[in-house]
Every structure is written in C-alpha cells, then in structure tokens.
C-alpha cells in the first residue's frame, strides 16, 4: 500500500533507533542508531544522547535542569514545563498529554517525525564500533 510503509526489515530497523525527543513545537524523535536503553526510562538511545550516567538526554535534563538559555541543554528541560504551563493557559489538556505521549514514545516510531538530524547526516552513523 504505502511504499514507505513498515516492512518487516524496516520495523526491525526502527526498534534500533534512538527515540529521544527533538523539536519544540514540531516534535520528532532523534532517529540515530541506538546503542543502549536509558537506565531510567528504557528508551533506545543513541551514542550522542547516551550519557556516562546511563541516562538519555531527556532524563538527564529532567534530573538537573538549567535555567540558563545559554546552556545547550536548557531547551530540553524548558520544553516539558512550557507544555504544562501553556496547556493550562489554553485550558487544553490534550496539548500537554499529546506532547507527553509523544515524548514517552507512545507513538509508534514508524509514525514518528524523523525529521531530525539523521536525515541530514546522509548516513545513520554513530555506530558504536
């Protein structure tokens, strides 16, 4: 049906992709090749998003949030708080829950907005050799 649809090989492929959330309003998943599951949330995580603490970038940002927008990690921690506050401002509970479900990987990665960096890299790279 859908030429880009998930065949068996593709599904297998997707299981090994990093599902760390990217984007702010246009949400996506990282999509690079995963090297290990996050010790806290269990999501498959790529080399770039996997820390020496065994956590994914999301869990690490939540554990030690920074208030400085000059810090590259700021926006990751700010995003969840923003969705929560703006959800209240709008009186729209689905605005937060939609983000939350997406962030927790409730959407099949096959439906994910893999618009992240890996598209651009040309190759999936980052394979732990």
């Amino acid at each position: 049906m859908d030429p880009a649809g998930p065949g068996p090989a593709r599904e297998e492929d997707q299981l090994n992709r990093c599902t760390v959330t990217s984007g702010f309003f246009v949400l996506g998943h990282c999509g690079r090749t995963a090297v290990a599951p996050c010790a806290q949330c269990g999501r498959p995580t790529c080399q770039e998003h996997y820390g020496p603490d065994g956590l994914c970038a999301e869990c690490r940002a939540a554990a030690s949030p920074t208030r400085s927008p000059y810090d590259e990690q700021w926006v990751r921690g700010y995003r969840r708080g923003y969705y929560s506050r703006s959800s209240q401002t709008y009186g729209d509970a689905t605005w937060y829950s939609g983000f939350d479900e997406y962030d927790r990987g409730a959407f099949n990665p096959g439906q994910g907005h893999y618009l992240g960096d890996y598209d651009h890299d040309g190759d999936d790279g980052f394979v732990d050799s």
Partner: protein, 241 residues
C-alpha cells in the same frame, strides 16, 4: 589602559555580538548552527566584559537567546532563521508620532500626547515540517505630558504606558494535514485561519510590558499555530534511504 584591553576582547566576539554591543541590534539570516555560534559568544560576555555600558541590550538575554534556542529546535540544519532586532528602545525620532493636545479641565492646563511605535523584533523561521513561521513584536508606547497649576505652582509630569503587540503567522506546507484544536484559544488571543490548500494561521495578542515574561508570552502566541498540527497526526514525507 584597561578599557583598551576590554575593547580588544570585544573585537574577538562574534560579529553580531559586537553589533549588539555597539549598534544595539542585529539583522541576519543564518542556519541554526550559525546562530548557536552567536549564542555561545554571548554566553562568554560577562566573563570578559564587566562594564555594564558594554553589555548587550537586556532583550538579548530575555528574548533573543531563548527564541533562537526554541526555534532552532524545529529547524533542519540547513533551514534559515532570519532575525532583525532593533534593541535601541522606543525614543528615536523616526519612531515617534507628532504630539497632539488633549481636551483638559482645570487645574490641568494642558496635556500633550504622542506615541512611539517600535517594531523591534522580526523573525522568520523555515521549520522542518515545511511550514514557515513569521513573528513580530512591536512596542506601542503612549506618552502624556501633563501640565497643571495647583495653588499657583506649575507642575509638569510625564506618564508612559507600554503595550507589547505580538503577531505570528504560520504558513503550512501544501496539503499538510490539520486538526482543529479541541478547545478554542484563550479570549486574549486573536486568531484568524485561512484554509486554502495551504493553511495559514495568524495569531496576535497584546500584553502589558514585561520583558522578563515576554519570551514565554511570545511562545503562547505561537502555540495556537501549532495546536492545529499535533504530533502523531500524520506521517510526514520521510527522506530516508
């Protein structure tokens, strides 16, 4: 002399960082990584320059940097983020309207009123879902100079009132799937939606001046434009091999 050293250090900052210091503004169209280089340069400012006179305008910190960080998240590495920021403030002749006299009653002798219209921020971002976001912030300052005579004494005072108008337009890519938000937007937000093959969502709001709150308020105005395209709604075109 110390200021000479400091000036030399400023000369090593990112060119747009220097522009924020000397011209109190910037105008550039660059990719996210290039904006990140500017933010990195700004992050090192306080370690090198102590003098407040040479600090970037405070809106750099309160508005520009957070917006660069947030919008860059939604862009492809080759997308263009265009920003024009005039952070000089409202009090320049080209921003002021002519003065006019308001009708008065004693003890007030005269009231002169004029405005400053300061469109100090314009941003265009090419987002990674193929939509294009335009954002503008305009400060509208009302000045009133009041002259009155109380018990034979002449008194003059000036009052100002500032309203910050935020306007955003998001043009979706052709035939992008949309879903009307479940609940209407808050009453303070003005929304217009044009749905041809290419949907255009335009939102605007006015806020009392508060630069520290402004970046989040801007995002509140943007949010409506994204409630129409919630995550998981559709499968976008994938460009995988």
């Amino acid at each position: 002399m110390f200021w000479r050293k400091t000036k030399a250090a400023i000369g090593n900052f990112h060119p747009l960082h220097q522009g924020l210091i000397w011209q109190r503004g910037l105008s550039a169209a660059m990719r996210p990584a290039d904006w990140a280089a500017l933010v990195q340069s700004l992050a090192g400012h306080d370690a090198v320059v102590k003098r407040r006179k040479w600090a970037p305008p405070h809106r750099t910190h309160h508005v520009l940097v957070p917006l660069i960080r947030v919008l860059s998240q939604d862009m492809r590495p080759d997308g263009v983020l265009a920003i024009t920021a005039d952070l000089r403030g409202p009090d320049f002749p080209e921003k002021l309207t002519p003065q006019r006299d308001l009708a008065v009653q004693r003890p007030i002798r005269s009231i002169k009123e004029w405005y400053s219209i300061d469109p100090w921020l314009r941003i265009r971002a090419e987002l990674r879902d193929g939509s294009v976001l335009d954002l503008s912030v305009t400060d509208r300052v009302r000045y009133r100079k009041i002259h009155k005579v109380v018990r034979g004494k002449h008194k003059t005072k000036q009052k100002t009132k500032v309203v910050q108008q935020v306007t955003a337009t998001r043009r979706l890519r052709r035939d992008a799937p949309v879903r009307q938000p479940a609940v209407p937007p808050p009453s303070w937000l003005r929304v217009r939606v044009r749905n041809d093959r290419r949907m255009v969502i335009r939102t605007s709001a006015k806020f009392p001046k508060d630069d520290a709150q402004l970046s989040e308020r801007i995002l509140y105005v943007l949010t409506e434009a994204f409630r129409w395209t919630p995550p998981g709604l559709a499968r976008p075109a994938r460009r995988t091999s």
